[in-house]
């Protein structure tokens, strides 16, 4: 039982780090703030490892650790704030604290010149706390607390350099889009409460299995609303435009929040609710198609982007689409597998990009980079490993998880499989394009930047190396049936992530599929090398872009402008109407009228002060007469 009490401590340590750094960031020296922030998350990671050992030996499916009774309204509503420790949540906890620790360590180097470093670590710790509450929550409402918390921290961290108005706008956009998704989640919670009478995840799962039939309309609406929440958090169409803009934040933020953890919260939530989703095949169909559309759409935009972080951002949106495609064919543990491997190589890629940006004195345009592999060796080799991993080339991690998704898709829905193959091809192409344009060829920047080029300090390169190792070996926890007897991850996750409807494919089909996917990844690599490898075909500057197709895709298909026209402009007009009519005409009139009337009354009354004593005495006499008259009449 003492092991379970550890569970209470794991989120509290980062919260403590947030409190100390948040209150004292002006007084604490910067390195101390950084060390403190990193140590809290690292200790949480160690505690999580201890808890992991406990989970390995535990026989029960899950354990509940109750913190306290939270909402109790007679017997109708009983919500307690408690954590659920089972195989799924321990995996996510390891991911969050593990990758979190590496990114905190990286931030110690990356943000060392920033005077708000203590504030940065405070926000990062708060984010880790919220994310842990999200993954550990045993109740949809507790999960929602964490859900909102990570949205808030995303806002705080994207707009971290808050003197810049564009960054503030990006932060606001992220928060508002998240909120739209949150509305869906809230409606889902209300519906869950209405139909099940409880919001505890395990109770809902049990009741759903026993009381509801397959394809029940109530479950359909609940799962649709849950998916809307996931859409907002995990950047699927149509709520994805915030993620590329979120690159305004510092690079460790992009790595942690927008690659490894927050955006995977949507997927985690769907996997957690796999019982509900398994009962709603229509929703799964919708999820699969939206994931497919997002994957292809975002990959196509990524082909033409010229900012190193934007390419990675669109890559993240695309890979999230892959994860949702996996969920859409009820391959829940496969989705989780891709979450894990994606976290490794995407965090690696983002941190590597941060290393490049740091070396290039904050330059992010790849058209101005080139030939960096000699000056930044560790960054180059780790970035290469990450690129190979994300393209799905064996034996690195991305191959195994992506291939498993593709295999499931092939077994269920061939058109989606073809689209996913196209997206994979594009992924490989644009990632290698990024690699070649950034690291190969000749240097295209200014002399001053060239002078400053240096490899990053140890605090930054150590996480890169560790993540590269994970990207290389992480795939082996999910070897497909053709190579190994046991799929370690899905065996471990077991019932907590739903039984994977095994794709009953014979070995030859599976090998053929693997061959096809590796083949197109290698073809894409070759094409990218052919076009960009030797330093020719540098993309043109923005002003010179004339090809209309390229222009449309480069401008993200003008989706932001579309949203601006359809949604934002009417809201602005509504606001203007409210201002002109309600504010100026109604409220100002009432308030000003009151002020004016008291002024006019005062102007009139002061004429009574004539200064002449006779008049005052006359007034006194009149008053007495009236007074006496009133009394004598009233008593009658």
């Amino acid at each position: 039982m003492e092991n379970l009490l550890l569970a209470l401590l794991i989120p509290l340590l980062p919260l403590l780090g947030f409190a100390i750094n948040g209150i004292g960031f002006k007084q604490l020296p910067k390195t101390l703030a950084g060390v403190l922030g990193t140590l809290t998350v690292f200790s949480s990671f160690l505690l999580t490892l201890v808890l992991f050992g406990y989970v390995l030996t535990e026989k029960a499916d899950y354990s509940l650790v109750k913190a306290y009774d939270w909402i109790t309204i007679t017997d109708a509503i009983k919500i307690s704030f408690s954590y659920q420790i089972d195989k799924l949540s321990i995996v996510m906890m390891l991911l969050v604290t593990g990758v979190g620790t590496l990114i905190h360590l990286y931030s110690m180097g990356y943000m060392s010149h920033d005077k708000g470093m203590g504030k940065f670590f405070a926000f990062l710790n708060l984010f880790i706390f919220s994310m842990l509450v999200l993954v550990m929550g045993s109740d949809y409402v507790t999960m929602f607390i964490g859900w909102e918390g990570v949205g808030l921290c995303s806002f705080l961290l994207i707009g971290f350099w808050n003197q810049n108005r564009e960054y503030n706008a990006a932060a606001q956009k992220a928060f508002v889009m998240n909120r739209i998704g949150d509305l869906g989640f809230l409606v889902a919670i209300f519906l869950i409460f209405q139909h099940f009478g409880t919001t505890s995840i395990m109770d809902v799962a049990f009741k759903a299995n026993t009381e509801f039939k397959f394809s029940d309309p109530a479950i359909f609406w609940i799962t649709i609303c849950l998916f809307i929440g996931a859409m907002g958090k995990s950047a699927q169409i149509p709520l994805y435009t915030w993620l590329p803009d979120a690159m305004a934040g510092p690079t460790p933020v992009s790595a942690l929040i927008h690659a490894a953890t927050m955006v995977t919260a949507g997927i985690y939530m769907v996997v957690r609710s796999h019982v509900l989703f398994s009962l709603a095949p229509e929703t799964l169909e919708i999820i699969a198609w939206i994931g497919c559309a997002t994957a292809v759409f975002a990959a196509s935009i990524g082909l033409f982007q010229n900012d190193i972080k934007k390419v990675l951002a669109y890559s993240t949106v695309s890979q999230l689409g892959f994860m949702f495609m996996a969920l859409g064919v009820a391959a829940f543990s496969t989705g989780m597998f891709h979450v894990l491997t994606h976290a490794f190589f995407k965090a690696l890629l983002f941190l590597g990009a941060g290393s490049v940006i740091h070396a290039m004195s904050n330059e992010q345009d790849i058209r101005k980079m080139g030939g960096l592999w000699k000056k930044l060796p560790i960054t180059f080799w780790t970035f290469l490993i990450g690129t190979i991993a994300i393209s799905g080339i064996p034996p690195f991690a991305g191959f195994f998880s992506k291939d498993e998704i593709l295999a499931h898709l092939y077994g269920h829905n061939k058109p989606i499989w073809i689209a996913a193959m196209v997206a994979s091809f594009m992924t490989s192409f644009y990632m290698f394009r990024l690699l070649f344009l950034t690291f190969f060829g000749t240097f295209r920047g200014t002399e001053e930047q060239k002078h400053h080029l240096h490899e990053s300090p140890f605090t930054m390169t150590l996480p890169l190396i560790l993540l590269a190792v994970l990207s290389m070996v992480g795939g082996f926890m999910g070897l497909p049936a053709v190579f190994a007897e046991h799929h370690i991850l899905s065996d471990f996750l077991g019932k907590s992530a739903g039984v994977v409807a095994g794709h009953h494919m014979d070995d030859s089909t599976e090998l053929m599929l693997m061959g096809i996917s590796v083949g197109i990844a290698v073809v894409a690599l070759a094409l990218a090398f052919f076009r960009y490898g030797s330093g020719k075909n540098i993309p043109v500057a923005d002003e010179v872009m004339t090809n209309p197709v390229t222009k449309v895709i480069y401008n993200k298909y003008y989706v932001d402008e579309l949203y601006g026209f359809i949604i934002i402009k009417p809201l602005h007009v509504l606001g203007d109407i409210a201002m002109l009519v309600i504010e100026y005409l109604v409220i100002d009139l009432i308030v000003n009228f009151i002020a004016l009337s008291s002024r006019v009354a005062g102007l009139g009354m002061r004429k009574m002060q004539t200064g002449s004593i006779g008049f005052y005495m006359f007034a006194m006499v009149i008053g007495m007469v009236l007074f006496l008259a009133y009394f004598s009449l009233a008593s009658n």
Binding site: R606, G611, I613, V621
Partner: protein, 109 residues
């Protein structure tokens, strides 16, 4: 009251009321109309004495000594008020060299 001779008791009490009312009204009009501060004070005294008279008459005709007691109070208060009032008039005289209340108009709006 029993000591008062019979022929005096034949005066109806209401005549005292008329007298006191007349005196009071003259006092009020005097206060409102006259401009000399000392005359105004005399009219105030006149009002007070009218009330004294009425109170004394009631004390006599109703056999209640409370009226006479109240008269004493009023006299004491009148004396004190006159002391203060005359002091103020002396101060006004020092600044304006006159006792005309029409001259004291500085507190106009």
């Amino acid at each position: 009251m029993n000591n008062i001779p019979l022929y005096l008791r034949e005066i109806p009490q209401v005549y005292y009321l008329y007298l006191a009312t007349a005196l009071f009204t003259i006092g009020v009009i005097g206060v409102l109309v006259r401009r000399n501060a000392l005359i105004i004070f005399m009219c105030i005294e006149l009002m007070l004495n009218a009330v004294n008279l009425l109170l004394a008459s009631f004390a006599a005709y109703r056999n209640d000594a409370a009226g006479q007691v109240f008269v004493f109070f009023i006299m004491a208060v009148a004396a004190a008020e006159v002391a203060v009032g005359l002091a103020i008039i002396v101060m006004i005289h020092r600044t304006t060299r006159s006792v005309d209340v029409g001259l004291l108009k500085s507190l106009k709006w």
